[in-house]
Structure formats: C-alpha cells, structure tokens
C-alpha cells in the first residue's frame, strides 16, 4: 500500500471514528477505496478491523501518540506510516475523547425541560384565589425509555430551586 493510499485510508478511518453513526458512509467509502486501488474488499475489511482496534484500545488506556505509534510499529507497519497515523490520532483525540465521555453511563439523564406558569383563579373551595403556580415538565431518559415528570412549584420554591441550581453551577465550574 503506497503512502498516498495509506493516508487516504487513514482519513476514511478517522472520519468514521469521529462520527461513529455514519456506518453506511464508512462502508461505501471503504468499497470505493477498494475499487480505486484494485484491492479486494474482504481482506481490506479485515485489515481495517484490526487497525480500528488500535485507536479504541488507545482511548480506553489513554495512550499518548508516541505509544500509538509504537503499537503500530509492533504490528508491522512501516515507521513512516505509523508516524502519520499517530499524528492523525493526536489531532483527532480531543474529538474522540469527547465522544467516549459522551458515551459514559448517565443515570436518569435529564433531556429536556418545559414549563408554564399561571394563576389559579378559583377552586371548589375558594371562590377567588389568585395564586401563582409554576408547572415544570422534565423529560428524563430512563435506560432506553423516555419518561415525562410533571411537577408543580410555588413561587418561593421556584426561587430557592433557582438559587440551588446556581450553586450547583458554581460547584461544577470549580471542578472543570
């Protein structure tokens, strides 16, 4: 595999790694690559599979680009190509790390919040009320299902909720 072909292949690989949902596009690009360079698709796929293992393992173990390069050389790749790959790895690692963090387990993740507030005008017990209420709808992801939670708050509760959330934000920021 020439240097040029290798860099084209690396590009395809990294584009897939940074957008793991684009599986079809990746497969199309791979078969295009195979046809253009007159390599059969089967062996190419196998090679790609083993190459892909390296960045995934590297992420899990937080390897530096040096170590990635060393891994590739150990796998039998020429020094030039290994360095090129390691360079690409370094350039892409922020995106890849962010993706891995994004995949990390989250419990009951809050996805969305809607609200409305209004005035209670009257009830069966009080003819004229005039008290303000705030209704929040929280959309929570529980496993693979989405659950809607409806909560009502009084105004004082709302203000202390806002106050507490601002404290959380300060706390989160001091740890970033």
């Amino acid at each position: 595999v020439s240097a040029q072909q290798f860099s084209a292949l690396t590009e395809v690989l990294f584009r897939f790694l940074t957008e793991p949902k684009e599986v079809e596009r990746f497969l199309t690009q791979l078969s295009d690559f195979a046809t253009v360079n007159k390599i059969s698709l089967g062996p190419l796929k196998n090679i790609v599979k083993s190459i892909l293992l390296v960045p995934n393992g590297a992420l899990k173990r937080n390897l530096s680009s040096e170590q990635v390069r060393a891994d590739f050389i150990a796998l039998g790749l020429s020094e030039e190509k290994a360095s090129y790959f390691a360079e690409q790895w370094k350039a892409n690692s922020p995106t890849l790390t962010r993706l891995a963090v994004g995949q990390t387990l989250m419990i009951n993740q809050l996805i969305d919040m809607e609200w409305k507030f209004g005035v209670t005008a009257g009830s069966s017990e009080l003819e004229k009320v005039g008290s303000i209420f705030l209704q929040l709808k929280l959309v929570v992801k529980k496993g693979s299902q989405v659950e809607n939670v409806y909560v009502e708050l009084t105004l004082p509760q709302f203000y202390s909720f806002l106050h507490e959330m601002e404290r959380v934000k300060t706390s989160l920021e001091s740890f970033s």
Binding site: K60, V101, N108, Q109, L126, V168, S171
Partner: protein
C-alpha cells in the same frame, strides 16, 4: 344538625373570602341571639386565614415538589475511557402526588436525575427566563 350547619357556614365564609365582620354578621338570620352571633363571628374571623391556607394547599394540583437535594460527582473513569475528570450533578427531587387523591397518606416519590454541565447551563437559562417573565408579570 348543628355541626352540619356550622360546617356549611364556615365553608361559605371561606369560599366567598369574607373578611369583614359585617359581612359575616349579615349571614345570620334576623332573630339570632346577639351575643352568640358576635362570638361565632369572632371565632370565624380568627380562623379564616388558616382555613383559606389549608384549602389552598389541599386543592387539586399536579404532583408537588416537596424537597430537593443535589450533589456534584466527578467521573474519573468508565468502560469507554480509563481516565477523565468530568464533573456531573445528581439532583434528587421529592415529589408528592396529588394531596386530594391520597387523603391522609400522601405518597412521596423521589426522582433522581443526572445533569451534565451543558444540561445544567441550558436549564439555568430556562429558569432565568422564567424569573424574568415572573418579574414582568409582577411589575405590570
């Protein structure tokens, strides 16, 4: 019969939101005993705000927030990446189901939600907008 009549009287006063002695006195029939009328009015007036508050808290509503707690964790490692330092927030809301439905045994459930920093920022934006809308309404 007496208790029932008294109950109706107090309910009516609370419902109408009568706060002046004259209005309550006007409810009694003409030949009602004067001192008793005044005594009853006095007692009703003393209790009226407590009764109104209780009626408000026990009216039908969506589930209500009764308490909230939070903690901030730092995620240091996971199965997809072995070293990181990502802060995340766990928020626990204690929610009480509709009081009117539960009678004397209110059902309180706890919902724990996880928020990333981005989610929290978006939430704060939303809460800030609520606050602005509330003060706009209050200043009208």
């Amino acid at each position: 019969q007496l208790v029932s009549a008294l109950h109706n009287l107090t309910r009516h006063v609370v419902y109408r939101g009568l706060t002046r002695a004259e209005d309550i006195l006007a409810l009694f029939p003409e030949n009602f005993h004067q001192n008793l009328k005044n005594l009853l009015t006095k007692i009703i007036l003393e209790n009226i705000s407590a009764w109104r508050n209780e009626a408000q808290t026990s009216q039908i509503s969506l589930p209500r927030l009764v308490d909230m707690d939070w903690r901030v964790d730092i995620k240091t490692s996971s199965d997809s990446i072995s070293r990181m330092a990502v802060p995340t927030c766990l928020l626990q809301l204690k929610i009480q189901e509709d009081v009117a439905l539960c009678g004397n045994g209110p059902v309180v459930s706890a919902l724990t939600v996880e928020l990333s920093k981005e989610t929290l920022d978006t939430m704060l934006e939303g809460l800030g907008r609520i606050r602005d809308q509330l003060s706009a309404v209050a200043n009208k």
